[in-house]
Symmetry: C2
Subunit: 330 residues, 2 copies
Amino acid sequence: MTQAPDVVAAASGGASLADAVLAGDRRALARALTVVENRPRAAGPLVDALVGRTGRAAITGITGPPGVGKSTLVRALIGELRAVGETVGVICVDPSSTVTSGALLGDRVRMGGHHRDDGVFIRSMASRGQLGGLSAAAFSAALVMDAAGFDHVLVETVGVGQSELEVSGLADAVVLVLMPGSGDAMQFLKAGIMEIPSVIAVNKSDEPGADRFATELRRALAIAHPRSGLPRIVRTNGLTGDGVADLLGALADHRAERDGEEQRARRERALRDQALRGAVDLLRDRLAEAARRDPAVVAALEEVAARRVSPAGVARILADEVTTNGDGEA
Amino acid sequence: MTQAPDVVAAASGGASLADAVLAGDRRALARALTVVENRPRAAGPLVDALVGRTGRAAITGITGPPGVGKSTLVRALIGELRAVGETVGVICVDPSSTVTSGALLGDRVRMGGHHRDDGVFIRSMASRGQLGGLSAAAFSAALVMDAAGFDHVLVETVGVGQSELEVSGLADAVVLVLMPGSGDAMQFLKAGIMEIPSVIAVNKSDEPGADRFATELRRALAIAHPRSGLPRIVRTNGLTGDGVADLLGALADHRAERDGEEQRARRERALRDQALRGAVDLLRDRLAEAARRDPAVVAALEEVAARRVSPAGVARILADEVTTNGDGEA
């Protein structure tokens, strides 16, 4: 493997767009995000040209089930951060939406009062089937936002599963947004199926039972995870802005508690893991392609469908097949 | 690719254990399930030797958030099926548990009154990190149970995400178990993030609000998914057995509605998809191994960690690397 020339060649391809992004050009930023979302091949060189200028932004994942008011809370967070002069880039990952990228109208609506403010940039990314692909695109988008110089990058994802954590792998902190009555999410936390977030925001704090829910959540987590450092639980109201400053305070505390070395190691691991996931995504794509075109793979899959050989039995043959044909000839 | 000899050679390896499983030997079945869970390499030949005798069982996925009473409901289903003379194999997939396979005591406890009944066999599978690996093992386990001659195979999984659906990809029907107040799960269904199941069981039907919850669920689904065939919603009580016969009736209706061709196509697709997923799992393992040992891959990942190249930029190099070294030399 001759690695250095590849990297250099790759980096030069996206250089001019990258320069414009680094210079703060917002139209270039929009174009770069579109490349990242829609053109995986071009995204590599582009992000290569930007990645050396990343690592400065505070990246925060915002996750939680649908309907708890994540978008409203994000809008309130933007307002609070802008009030103290901090710039904010936002990536909204919406696996339920089939709207294509850009989603300009939606973005403008979501931006609320911030659509004439150069210190705020919001991009929605809709799912087109492959969750892995979306997660990779969101990861690259966070790097692009970071390189564009925003003080804060917020990555909003829907869900309580594992794929959401991949998206926020780059994040220094993850806020799980719940609301009074988020019973299933509490069960997932208790059962250890959901990773414990950095901070839990109990949103819609004006709804009945908010106090009791926060108390129950605290108690349930203390019993279920007696030895782990528990998240700070903050009551918020995205509509009125109540508690939003507290949430930012909790996030600042969280960053302060983690020393520089730990932070750096965590970020390096996230970058390495994402590279490996990206490679797996590519191999998956090659395999899907082979399943359509490669006669040997098509025949092997027919054997499986006819129950003459097991899925596990044929998997190794398929892996070797894509391995033999994937490189060199292409 | 010379495929036939591979398959034949593979099939002969697991033949004697397979013969015992096919003959109804329950100790052999237990051993076969352990192979499937703990020895992925040996699992291929074993399941190859069994897969020709699968396709007879009615396979049903049972999923839902923790705490809704899935296990109790499964026990009630077993009782109801045994009462009419049907045999039942159960696979409990528990990603939150770190208990190693077999989990004999737990299984016996879960079996309730059925632990001396040869017509019932229950196996728990605990997660050991890799969710992909667990899902593949559960899929193979369902095939083994099918080959062992059970009329019904129930695959119980915790969750409301996408990985649970992989596990139940082989299933002819999926029951989503909820309870009154499963607010987040309802939100996931409405948002289209959770796939619509074949049947929804509103369990713990004696809890206050069960009627209202079922009505709201029905209404929310009708509004959110106006054009899709909506699942039948059945109220159940796993503890008393109320509604369990209705649930079985709904499942039987579901099977009857789907014609033989559609059923067969669905099962063939599930087998093909699982083979491809298994190949991706293998490639992921090879890549993880390379990330530990292959100097070129280690160096590439260092470049990523140092932000000299982007994760997306290096992914292609990594994919090609595992591609070159994976086969032939091994």
